[in-house]
Amino acid sequence: MTVDEDRGGELVQGTLEMLVLKTLALEPMHGWGIAHRIEAMSGRVFLVTQGSLYPALVRMKRRGWISSSWQTTANNRRARYYALTAAGERQLSEQRAAWQRATSAVSAILGARTVPVNA
């Protein structure tokens, strides 16, 4: 679970996968890079631990959303790079749409001031 409760960030199950997909949509990246990016992009609200990241990567690879290959980093070190596949791209847009539907619904509820009139 990608939780850093000290900073108030709680991730709904499955959200990590969406975030990983989003990160990889920008460019292929190795595991540490993915974790680092998510932390940075979330303003260090989300801390991604090894224990949740790597199993998630294996699962996603099994589902065919991402592919992996060993490559050399800028510092000339060997690292496993993950990249988005076509299926992964589709998955990302689906998840993004679902997420947006869910969040707007939640904020609509949280922002409500009057009881809606029954139709």
């Binding site: 595991g31 890079g33 099994r62 065919g64």
Partner: protein, 885 residues
């Protein structure tokens, strides 16, 4: 989610497990290094960096575990580890493992082989198109009380022409000589082949078209010198050369034109073993001697028209029979019955096989019981191990899975070994029974049956392997580890298990008793048969077939040659007498031509005409096989064709048709001639079971014109038949280099062939009985030893309180004997129930013979005593000082 990528990725993960692990290590190490670098960049103190890295390292193993779970092949790779562990565990206990695997192999192999045999003989349909419509037609005679025999050519032709129920009706000659010597072809030596005489309908009836050439036609049946080769003969002699068609093959000195070749793999339904090398047309020319209305030698098989029942066909047959008896008044008691061909072919062997099946099933049961017992004992012994593993954190499911894997590995090893045993057993079964049980040679391993046996034994192994696992999972490690290990003494679980195991042993003893008693009954039967006085002396007599080819030997030459061969053989040192006969004594019925007294008190009355076996003899046949001439004389050189016809009759026949008068000098009608009785011979049994029949013996010198008798030669040796065989062969070749000495064997062996089925059953049943005895002993031994181990504290207390070693030993022995005793009582009931199945295979032995049942009981008591003795003596040597610590 794509199912395809999922499966591919899982399989890849499984296949490259080691590579993946290395990759994961590298990946996680890279992660930590990047983390450390990042911290350095942020200016965190090196000490703090080291502290955090070490902390993070602690999480690496958990991460790895979670990654492994995420691969989706976790259960499979675990199973692989379990299997390797199971192999190691099984290797550590070789005695247990070998015993269990061998037991399983015997059960699986034995049952698979016997089930396959039963399937091949009894269950599989005959290998011809629409086999359900095939029937066999038997001749019956109400007056002569003959209820199933061969048909005359006259009747066969009448049936073939007159019956509308049949699509086709074929006649075969399986009765007379069936060998042919093929010579001279392409410079190759003489060879004896198995020839079958068949009518032109034969191939139609069996729906078996020729592979090449044409079947026989009406012309062939009259003047036929045509021959159809088997695929094997075509291959051996002509190398499958199509130009062989139309060429000639010389057989018995006569040229035959090859008109066709049979399909490969074709077997005849009636000939036992089914192997025929060639078919030639049966002689149906009208007016010839073999075609007369009293000459019963044809086997008739037919194919019913679609929709015609066997009852309807029988009714038509009976109606035709009435018309025929009007035409041939003296055959008015002759009729015919129909029988489904498969039933006819399988016939008597079905009893033997059913018995085998029952025995094999009993052994499979025993095997399952034994494996169950072994695993139960083994599981209890390992209570401590499971408790320890549980205490170290292995979950219950994990332990159960591990045990399941052990049982699976064990069952698998048993299955593989069982397959080997099955193959060997089947080879043995064919070797033992192929000559006496029809269709057995077509035996092949049936995968369904193999699967069935494997399933049964594996389920048994797995189920029994799981019982202790369940208990281990439930037991409190604290308790078990502190106690003596294994089943805790107070546990009711343990006691109910002990009771279950005792029950299993009782069942084993019961089954073993049934099998041992069965084998005992058969052994007694075979011994009775051996002790039987058949009226002949079969020891040290060499027999062989000698065929004189018609082309070079006319009836005069045949008459002379057979006598000459006998004389020359008698000149061999070590030979006391030699002769020939149309059918070896005690090997079954042959020419039942009957006999009628033409003189004496009964002449002209109905009781003067009786059924009788007729035999044609040459040389000094009577002396060679030890038949006494009780009055009158044996045949001699004076009994030539020009002299009046002479016969010798058996004592019983003489008494029957010449009551109160001297049979010598009386006249008798036998073999289509009026003959003078010159001698009376002692009675000889017609088969190996001592069935008495009346006999008329004709001298071959006077009878050679009737047909080309291929006389079986009998040579009495003063030492052993083997010792003279080479000399005999020399004499035969010296007489005529082209003559072949066929099937040399001892007379005892030839007679024993008729008992093939009984011996086959006996050998199989005896091996099953031995196996079951061993299994029961093993089971008893296992349960008692385990009981002793379990009770070692109790025994130690007894010893400490002054019990003598002898009393302890007696206590364990008594326990073993009481289990044996109870098992035997149950077994006795089983044996009585099974006696019905045995009855037809027994000979002059009651299926409930008390002496045999008692012997079987003794046998089991001895084996049970031996099995109980070891644990008993171990119990008596329990040392209270060590056991009570």
């Amino acid at each position: 989610m794509s199912l395809f990528s999922d499966v591919v990725e899982r399989l890849r993960a499984l296949a490259f497990r080691r590579q993946d692990e290395r990759d994961l290590d590298n990946e996680l190490r890279f992660h930590l290094e990047m983390e450390a670098e990042e911290m350095r960049r942020k200016g965190i103190a090196p000490q703090e960096i080291r502290r955090r890295t070490v902390l993070a390292l602690g999480g690496v193993d958990r991460t790895k575990e979670e990654v492994r779970d995420a691969t989706g092949v976790r259960w499979l790779s675990d199973a692989w580890d379990d299997a390797r562990f199971a192999l190691r565990v099984l290797r550590q206990r070789p005695t247990f493992t070998v015993t269990a695997v061998l037991t399983l192999a015997l059960g699986i192999g034995g049952t698979t082989a016997v089930f396959s045999a039963v399937d091949a003989v009894l269950i599989k349909p005959l290998p011809y198109g629409q086999p359900g419509r095939l029937v066999r037609l038997y001749y019956v005679d109400t007056r002569r009380k003959i209820d199933g025999s061969f048909v005359t050519p006259v009747h066969y032709l009448a049936y073939r022409d007159g019956l509308k129920s049949f699509e086709s009706l074929a006649a075969l000659n399986t009765y007379g000589e069936s060998g042919g010597d093929i010579t001279g072809d392409e410079g190759r030596g003489a060879r004896r082949i198995h020839v079958l005489y068949v009518s032109r309908d034969y191939f139609d009836v069996l729906r078996s078209p020729l592979a090449a050439g044409r079947p026989f036609d009406a012309q062939d049946e009259v003047s036929g010198r045509a021959i159809v080769l088997s695929d094997a003969l075509w291959r051996d002699r002509f190398h499958r050369d199509a130009s062989a068609m139309g060429r000639t093959l010389t057989m018995n000195g006569v040229p035959y034109v090859i008109t066709g070749v049979m399909q490969p793999g074709f077997t005849d339904p009636v000939v036992i073993g089914g192997a025929v090398d060639a078919w030639i047309p049966i002689d149906l020319a009208p007016g010839r001697i073999p075609s007369n209305v009293d000459n019963h030698y044809m086997t008739v098989i037919g194919r019913l028209r679609p929709g015609v029942t066997i009852t309807a066909a029988q009714a038509e047959l009976d109606a035709l029979g009435v018309r025929l008896s009007a035409e041939y008044p003296h055959t008015k008691t002759v009729g015919a019955v129909l029988k489904p061909l498969k039933e006819d072919v399988v016939g008597e062997s079905s009893r033997a096989l059913q018995l085998m099946l029952a025995a094999a099933f009993a052994v499979l049961l025993l095997v399952c019981v034994n494996v169950a017992n072994l695993l139960l004992v083994r599981g209890s012994e390992r209570g401590r191990e499971f408790a320890l593993r549980g205490a170290l954190g292995a979950g219950e499911t994990r332990i159960v899975r591990q045990l399941l894997m052990e049982s699976l590995v064990l069952a698998l090893a048993g299955d593989v070994a069982g397959l080997v045993v099955a193959q060997l057993a089947m080879r043995g079964i064919v070797a033992l029974g192929g000559g006496s049980i029809p269709r057995l040679t077509a035996l092949s391993l049936d995968p369904r049956i193999l699967g069935f046996s494997i399933l049964i034994s594996s389920v048994c192994a797995i189920a029994c392997g799981l019982v202790p696992a369940m208990r281990a999972g439930r037991s409190d490690p604290n308790e078990t580890l502190r106690g003596g290990g294994g089943e805790s003494r107070s546990s009711t679980d343990g006691r109910s298990h002990a009771r279950l195991r005792s029950l299993l042993v009782v069942a084993q003893v019961a089954l073993a008793f049934v099998l041992v008693a069965g084998a005992g009954l058969l052994i007694a039967s075979v011994r009775r048969l051996r002790e039987l006085d058949l009226g002949i002396r079969a020891e040290n007599v060499l027999t062989f077939e000698l065929h004189l080819p018609e082309a070079r030997y006319d009836s005069t030459a045949r008459a002379r040659t057979y006598e000459e061969v006998a004389h020359r053989l008698e000149a061999i040192p070590g030979v006391s007498a030699a002769g020939g006969v149309s059918k070896l004594p005690a090997t079954g019925q042959y020419n039942i031509w009957g006999a009628e007294a033409l003189s004496g008190p009964l002449a002209g009355t109905k009781s003067a005409d009786v059924p009788a076996e007729n035999r044609v003899v040459s040389g000094d046949y009577f002396k060679a096989v030890g038949i006494q001439i009780v009055s009158g004389r044996a045949f001699n050189a004076g009994d030539v064709p020009s002299a009046p016809r002479r016969v010798i009759v058996s004592q019983s026949l003489a008494k029957r048709i010449y009551p109160g008068v001297d049979p010598i000098g009386q006249t008798i009608s036998a073999g289509d001639a009026t003959c003078l009785i010159v001698g009376v011979a002692n009675d000889v049994s017609v088969d190996a079971e001592g069935r008495a029949e009346d006999f008329v013996y004709h001298p071959h010198a006077q009878f050679a014109g009737d047909r080309n008798w291929a006389l079986a030669q009998v040579v009495a040796a003063t030492t052993s038949p083997e010792a003279i065989e080479a000399d005999v062969r020399r004499v035969v070749t010296a007489t005529d280099p082209e003559l072949v000495m066929h099937h040399p064997m001892s007379l005892a062996e030839a007679i024993g062939r008729g008992e093939g089925q009984r011996t086959f059953t006996l050998r199989l049943l005896a091996s099953f009985a031995a196996m079951s005895l061993g299994l029961a002993a093993l089971g008893l031994f296992g349960v008692l030893s385990y009981g002793v181990k379990l009770r070692s504290r109790e025994i130690a207390i007894r010893v400490a309180l002054g019990a003598e070693a002898r009393a302890i030993r007696r206590m364990v022995l008594r326990q073993g004997m009481s289990m044996t005793g109870i098992g035997m009582v149950i077994g006795l009931v089983g044996a009585l129930a099974a006696s019905r199945l045995m009855a037809s295979l027994l000979f002059r032995v009651s299926p409930v013979d008390p002496r045999i049942l008692a012997s079987a009981a003794c046998c089991l008591f001895v084996v049970g005593g031996l099995a109980a003795y070891l644990p008993a003596s171990r119990a008596s040597s329990v040392d209270p000082r060590t056991a009570l610590q």
